[in-house]
């Protein structure tokens, strides 16, 4: 018997040993074991916020992010057994893939599947860049429809920037050229931080294959990016881009741009940049409007005159000698396009006919001796600094320090050479003239919103509230009127919309001065001339056919855009008539919500009819009575619009069908009938 107890003791000792080992582990090894286990099983994952959208001023979506998916197959997935990876399933999927994407034959797909399955490839690329809809479809296919572990499908989400309006203002919005979420230009770059939002790091504990659970259960999602509302008006932008494209094509030009700005606020309503590279069609290749500084040519003449007027050296009637239109100055020749109509012109007339010689003479007389006086004015006009605008890449103007000016610098600058400025510089200056001497900062940002709350709206920034004296402004405006009335831009004159502006035809140096002359045609101005709403600049670079003069090549684009904007803007046009409306003029509203009736009456400035109910209708004596709606009875919807009728009937639990269009003239269940839920009522519309 003793042996049995010895045996029992042996086993009991073994069990004590086991428990002792447990206690030892818990007392002395626990810390290290748990720490090491946590360090290998806990990982952090960055949750990237959804990038904000970019909208037009009126809330149209210009840039947004769409998810795209890359799909790989893990042929080594635990659940992808021979029961799943059957020849039948493989055949079906191969056929479906081939039929869907036409990139390989079903046999090719089939062979690939078997090959990579044999190799136990854990990351076989099935398809890149498929849409959510395609992914969902794919997940209904045989074997793919199984759980992640069985199908072996690895789906990776990417974000792709989508532009619902296509190329519109693309350079200004910014492009993700490499599809990797980095932007090299435009608002996307400048506002990258706002748009990106805040990524959040979350801790996860790894569980079984492919499954992890968050450590902190506290719901903390990434702060999604802010939305940017631009000042762009999608209709005007469309018009501008379209007109520019047509002109560029017509003149076989290299590139061109349009900027249209609201005079009072500096809000840019349209900015189009089109260029041609290799192919024949024009695309947004570069932000010429903001980033390309060139010699402006004749549009500069107004700055020269403005400068002289501010210095009280001339007024618009001061005579200028311009001889036969040729001026020799220190061995260089300055020529007018045409010989002047008379050897002596007034300042106004000289600008109207765009006389180079007259401008050079004026500069020679007044500024050669005092170059810094001229320079200071140009500096005030903003021609020495990049324009402040909310996108990157604003070009720095080129204008030498007056101490380094030669004897011919002032006369050349006076008619638009020896300095380089961007189209936006020119527009900013002309806009100040339209705005009675107040210079405002051009802006592309209407407001920035976060979670449907406006967090920033920069508004209008006045850069200089007295850029020019009132006297100068008046005279300059008259001169610009004159350019269109009887000057170089006569071709743009119409009776219905008066515009004011200045043409420019510059010889540019982009392919060598003399050998092969290239021109830059431009037109800058504002409209309506007597009450300026918008200022605009058109620049067309290197027109190749159909003329190169600014009045034609650029002026016609200006005219076209101005006309269309004018026709779109009711407030710009004079009222046809404005008769007083009385209560009796308001048409009878047969049956509607009281609130709606009150709003319509308020619009006409009339007192809303009395009555206490939510719904009202016209009674027999043409006065309003309450439409008595009861919760369990079919309401009377005769006379209502379909919207109201649908709302009312469906909120009573009825199913509605209708025939015809217009107002309700009949209902299949009479008003006041008791409702049984889910009943169908048919409406007859007039």
């Amino acid at each position: 018997m003793i042996r049995i107890y010895v045996g029992f003791l042996f086993i009991a000792l073994l069990s004590v040993g086991i428990l002792a080992k447990v206690v030892h582990t818990q007392l002395y090894e626990a810390h290290e074991l748990i720490a090491q286990s946590d360090s290998t099983s806990i990982f952090s994952k960055t949750i990237v916020a959804e990038r904000g959208n970019i909208y037009s001023a009126d809330g149209k979506l210009l840039a947004t992010s769409l998810p795209l998916f890359d799909v790989h197959i893990d042929f080594n997935a635990d659940g992808l057994t021979d029961d799943v990876f059957t020849p039948r399933n493989v055949d079906s999927v191969a056929m479906l893939m081939s039929a869907k994407y036409h990139d390989k034959t079903a046999a090719d797909y089939r062979a690939e599947f078997f090959k990579h399955h044999k190799k136990a490839d854990t990351y076989f690329l099935l398809k890149r860049d498929i849409s959510l809809a395609d992914l969902n479809e794919m997940k209904t296919w045989p074997w793919f429809r199984l759980s992640r572990n069985k199908s072996g499908l690895i789906v990776e989400t990417k974000e792709m920037r989508d532009h619902p309006f296509g190329d519109i203002a693309l350079r200004t919005l910014g492009i993700d050229e490499n599809h990797d979420g980095t932007y090299s230009s435009g608002l996307e770059l400048k506002y990258d931080k706002d748009l990106t939002g805040e990524a959040v790091k979350k801790l996860y504990r790894k569980l079984s294959a492919g499954v992890a659970k968050p450590l902190d259960t506290k719901e903390e999602s990434a702060n999604s990016g802010k939305d940017i509302y631009t000042t762009l008006d999608i209709n005007i932008q469309d018009v501008a881009e379209d007109a520019l494209r047509k002109a560029l094509t017509r003149h076989d030009a290299e590139h061109g741009c349009v900027i249209l700005m609201e005079v009072k606020t500096g809000k840019i309503r349209a900015i189009a940049n089109l260029g041609k590279r290799d192919s024949a069609d024009y695309r947004e290749l570069y932000n010429y409007a903001v980033g390309e500084a060139t010699e402006p040519g004749s549009v500069m003449k107004l700055a020269t005159v403005a400068s002289l007027m501010e210095d009280k050296l001339v007024d618009k009637n001061t005579p200028v000698e311009c001889g036969n239109g040729v001026l020799m100055i220190r061995g260089l020749t300055i020529k007018d396009h045409e010989a002047p109509e008379s050897p002596q012109l007034t300042v106004q007339r000289a600008v109207e006919v765009s006389s180079n010689v007259a401008m050079a003479e004026l500069a020679k007389d007044y500024y050669i001796a005092k170059p810094s006086q001229f320079y200071d004015h140009l500096k005030t006009f903003g021609f020495t600094q990049p324009v402040q605008i909310e996108i990157g890449g604003a070009a720095r103007p080129v204008l030498a320090d007056p101490k380094k000016w030669s004897g011919v610098s002032a006369p050349f600058i006076a008619h638009g050479y020896e300095l380089q400025i961007t189209p936006l510089h020119t527009l900013q200056f002309y806009n100040a003239i339209a705005n009675n001497g107040v210079m405002v900062k051009p802006t592309l940002i209407e407001k920035i919103r976060e979670y449907n709350q406006t967090v920033d709206s920069p508004g209008t920034v006045v850069l200089n509230d007295k850029l020019l004296s009132q006297g100068t402004v008046k005279q300059l405006q008259e001169i610009l009127d004159g350019v269109v009335e009887n000057g170089t831009a006569k071709n743009l004159k119409t009776t219905y919309l008066k515009i004011a502006g200045k043409t420019g035809t510059a010889v540019i140096s982009n392919h060598g001065y003399k050998v092969n002359k290239k021109y830059q045609a431009s037109f800058v101005g504002y409209f309506p001339a007597d009450k300026p709403e918008y200022s605009m600049i058109i620049v067309v670079n290197s027109p190749g056919q159909g003329g190169y003069y600014g009045n034609v090549v650029a002026g016609e684009v200006f005219r076209e855009v101005a006309d269309k904007v004018y026709s779109l803007s009711l407030e710009m046009q004079p009222a046809v008539n404005n008769p007083a409306v009385t209560e009796n003029d308001i048409p009878v509203i047969k049956n509607a919500a009281r609130e709606d009736i009150a709003r319509i009456y308020a619009m006409f400035g009339a007192q809303a009819p009395a009555g206490g109910d939510d719904w009202m209708m016209v009674g027999d004596d043409h006065s309003y009575v309450a439409n008595d709606i009861k919760i369990d009875m079919v309401p009377d919807v005769k006379g209502m619009g379909l919207k109201d009728a649908l709302y009312l009937l469906e909120s009573h639990g009825l199913r509605v069908e209708f025939k015809g269009k217009g107002n309700v003239i009949g209902q299949s269940i009479d008003a006041g009938t008791k409702i049984s839920k889910g009943q169908t009522i048919t409406l007859q519309l007039s």
């Binding site: 049995i4 069990s15 080992k21 572990n149 790894k206």
Partner: protein, 396 residues
């Protein structure tokens, strides 16, 4: 309440405490398997974690049914059955060695024709050897000193199947051998023979280890499971390689134990079940400690010791009978297996692949474990009956 319990037990004969042990172990098995198999459920049953619970409930019910039938059989029949079983099991083991179903280079399973069930022949052999030993011990109690007539045949009964199992499942063979020696010790094998046996085994094991460790890996690679054994022994006893599979398993198991603490954390709260391979079978003891704390671990150990104690009580009642050796032999076998499993789970022994009787998930071993329990219960039932008879005779 008490009455219904008594009523239920009316149909169950045999030691009530052992029945209780069975029920408690099954309940633990449900809880632990349900929790530990969740990662398995994710892989194979589309995340339906009840899938394995249902399977386990079914196998537990099947096990109880088997026990019931086995315990209704008069244990004296098992004496003859033991001989037949042993004679059947030798060719079956041979068959398994050469034509069995291989998993990880180990040919341990055979598939029953017609029904299609697979089972591990070593489980059957274990039952046969222990039953046959019990028969031989009870028949030869008066001539235990006779080496040639008594000891040698008994050693043959043990060693023949052990050697056949050893090729593919060394640890099971060693456990069976050791269990048999344990039973022989209780069955009054002479100390001198016992000493001889130990000396002989020490020499054999020593030689074997020397060959295993000194033969280069390249030669071992062609010799069945030799490389696996070598690796296991190396990881556990010699140089603790940090990334070996077994070490990883035991490390995860020890982490589970570390996370468990003293008091229960509650069912389903195991973290390590996600990292611990075989959490639901070989290492379920670690998961039990993680979810039920040291307290839970002590309870399980206590339950197995209780089982052993009840088996010993049977021997006390009938010290030299076949039934006594049968019950204590099977009891020792079950409890020793449990202890080895737990010792592996806590990192005391190297990884062997032995299940925790009635608790681990796994269908085929439940069958033989349940039969073993049934036989023990049958013995206790018959002893109870004969005691009652005696009492009746005494009072008459």
């Amino acid at each position: 309440m008490k009455e219904t319990v008594n009523k239920t037990f009316e149909y169950l004969r045999g030691d009530r405490i052992i029945w209780l042990v069975v029920i408690v172990l099954f309940v633990f098995s449900m809880l632990a398997v349900y929790s530990a198999s969740s990662s398995l459920a994710f892989k194979n049953a589309d995340g339906n974690s009840s899938h394995y619970l249902y399977k386990q409930i079914l196998s537990a019910l099947g096990g109880i049914l088997l026990m019931y039938f086995a315990h209704m059989v008069d244990y004296r029949y098992f004496s003859r059955i033991a001989q037949i079983l042993w004679i059947i099991c030798v060719p079956l083991l041979l068959y398994t060695m050469f034509w069995g179903t291989s998993i990880n280079h180990a040919s341990r399973w055979i598939r029953l024709p017609l029904i299609g069930w697979t089972f591990q022949t070593s489980d059957l052999a274990k039952l046969a050897v222990i039953m046959l030993l019990a028969r031989m011990l009870s028949k030869n109690q008066d001539k235990m000193d006779d080496f040639r007539k008594t000891v040698l045949p008994m050693l043959g009964v043990v060693l023949v199947p052990c050697m056949m199992i050893a090729k593919d499942n060394l640890s099971t063979a060693l456990i069976l051998f050791f269990t048999s020696v344990f039973i022989l010790f209780i069955g009054r094998l002479a100390i001198k023979h016992l000493a001889l046996l130990f000396a002989a085994s020490a020499v054999v094991i020593g030689l074997f280890l020397a060959v295993l460790l000194l033969t280069p890996d390249s030669v071992l690679a062609h010799m069945g499971r030799m490389p696996t054994w070598k690796k296991r022994i190396q990881t556990h006893f010699i140089n603790k390689e940090p990334n070996a599979d077994d070490d990883y398993q035991q490390r995860q198991a020890r982490t589970a134990i570390a996370r468990g603490g003293i008091l229960p954390n509650g069912p389903g709260n195991s973290m390590q079940k996600h990292f611990l391979p075989e959490a639901y079978s070989d290492f379920i003891f670690a998961i039990i400690i993680e979810e039920y704390g040291l307290i839970g671990g002590i309870f399980i150990v206590f339950i197995y010791l209780l089982l052993l104690y009840r088996c010993i009580r049977i021997v006390m009642d009938a010290p030299k009978a076949f039934g006594a050796f049968l019950a204590v032999g099977l009891g020792v076998s079950l409890v020793l297996q449990a202890m080895i499993n737990m010792a592996v789970a806590v990192g005391l022994f190297p990884v062997t692949g032995v299940t925790l009787p009635l608790v681990s998930m796994g269908g085929s071993s439940v069958v033989f474990t349940s039969i073993a329990f049934g036989i023990i219960l049958s013995v206790s039932r018959n002893i109870e009956a004969s005691q009652e008879q005696e009492e009746e005779l005494a009072t008459a």
